[in-house]
Subunit: 215 residues, 2 copies
DNA sequence: TGGTGTGAATCCTTTCACAGCC
DNA sequence: GGCTGTGAAAGGATTCACACCA
């Protein structure tokens, strides 16, 4: 029984890229754009861009292309970023602190409303406008703010525990920066970013191109 | 003419996951493991694990599984992390500074040997053991250390310029954290991480599961 | 002419299923 | 009995190619 109307993960990723490109165009006051223009900037094909969009409707104008601002609105609606998301940050070490200060999140519709850490040393410290809270207060803050998303920047050893705590507190989506596999409870979606792995992938590409043929 | 002996990008990514899992097992003094054990932890199938490894050789023992430490060595060799890579960091804002302090890079074989920033305010500041250098010194440092990889954490507007400077200085692989599409010159490989996009992907998943059927 | 939307064809990846081995 | 390695089959994703529209 193939449940065949699912959207490929790769398509969702590319929609985010399109949104980013379109936003740049809009900032430059460009009003319309073709699928091949967008594709060119991103190293994709024009057919790919049109197919990706076709999953969600017909947004283009034959002979013209796409209206930039109109397509931005559609993409935001599709991605669910037409409204702001309240996000909590768990783990306030170097990386967590840097992310709390990162402008790009707010710009794309994600606002950090609480910062938490298990270490008593860090609780009470200020990070920008935020004050680091103890983990005990997580559930209260999540329910008060209605946050659905948590960004987790704790050491690998504590990641699974924190995931479970976050889920119990009502979190429904997790962006995980810990370098370990985590299991999200049913009903909770998860997206992991392992920074070291991104370098390993580069290393592989650099290594294999040195020995060009398999032989 | 299909050039069919290429390794899928997804396979490389999973190899990195396998290495991470195996390292955890090795730390626990576990000597052998089966493909289904590894797959289970990562939410994959056993056949997938075996197929991925089969691109590179036969590493398993029928009836037994894989020798953990042996497979770790093979994976490191395949990924090119059996030796350390010297890496330069360009852009020393919040994120760059956090990455400079990140332990996970060193642990996986990547050592940051230089930090650079275009802003005169930051040049001369200390980040851990490193002193932030001016961009003028990039080429000299790259050729002195033989670095092949750059991690780029500059604002989107300057990303492409920095990429070109890095490539001219002799860099061959770029890990890009700037939230913009960059074009790497021929012979330079590139891997981009857009943190906001990872949250957008989560947002999509949370949004679509709310309206379960397409209808 | 320049561009979209989309079935059909191709290409790639994953899963199945089983021979062979310890 | 348990597990690997691997052809064959199935399933998805991308590209092609063209009808159609402004």
């Amino acid at each position: 029984m193939p449940q065949s109307n699912a959207i490929p993960k790769a398509t969702v990723f590319r929609l985010c890229l399109y949104l980013r490109e379109l936003t740049e165009l809009s900032d430059k006051d460009i009003k319309t754009v073709s699928s091949s223009k967008v594709a060119g900037k991103l190293g994709l094909t024009d057919a790919q861009v049109r197919k990706d969009l076709a999953y969600f409707g017909q947004f283009g104008y034959p002979g013209v292309g796409y209206h930039v601002d109109e397509l931005i609105d559609e993409l935001k609606r599709i991605l669910g970023t037409n409204h702001m998301w309240d996000v909590v940050l768990i783990g306030c070490g170097n990386l967590g602190t840097a992310l709390a200060a990162y402008k790009g999140f707010d710009r794309q519709g994600f606002h950090i409303v609480g910062a938490f850490d298990a270490s008593a040393d860090r609780v009470g410290q200020k990070i920008g406008e935020l004050t680091v809270q103890s983990m005990d207060e997580l559930a209260k803050t999540v329910s008060r703010t209605g946050s659905r998303i948590a960004v987790i920047c704790v050491p690998g050893e504590s990641a699974q525990t924190v995931v479970d705590q976050a889920a119990a507190a009502g979190i429904r989506g997790i962006l995980n920066f810990a370098a370990t596999a985590i299991t999200a409870p049913p009903g909770v979606v998860q997206n992991s970013v392992d920074l070291a792995i991104r370098l390993e992938q580069l290393s592989f590409q650099l290594t294999k191109t040195k020995q060009p043929a398999k032989r």
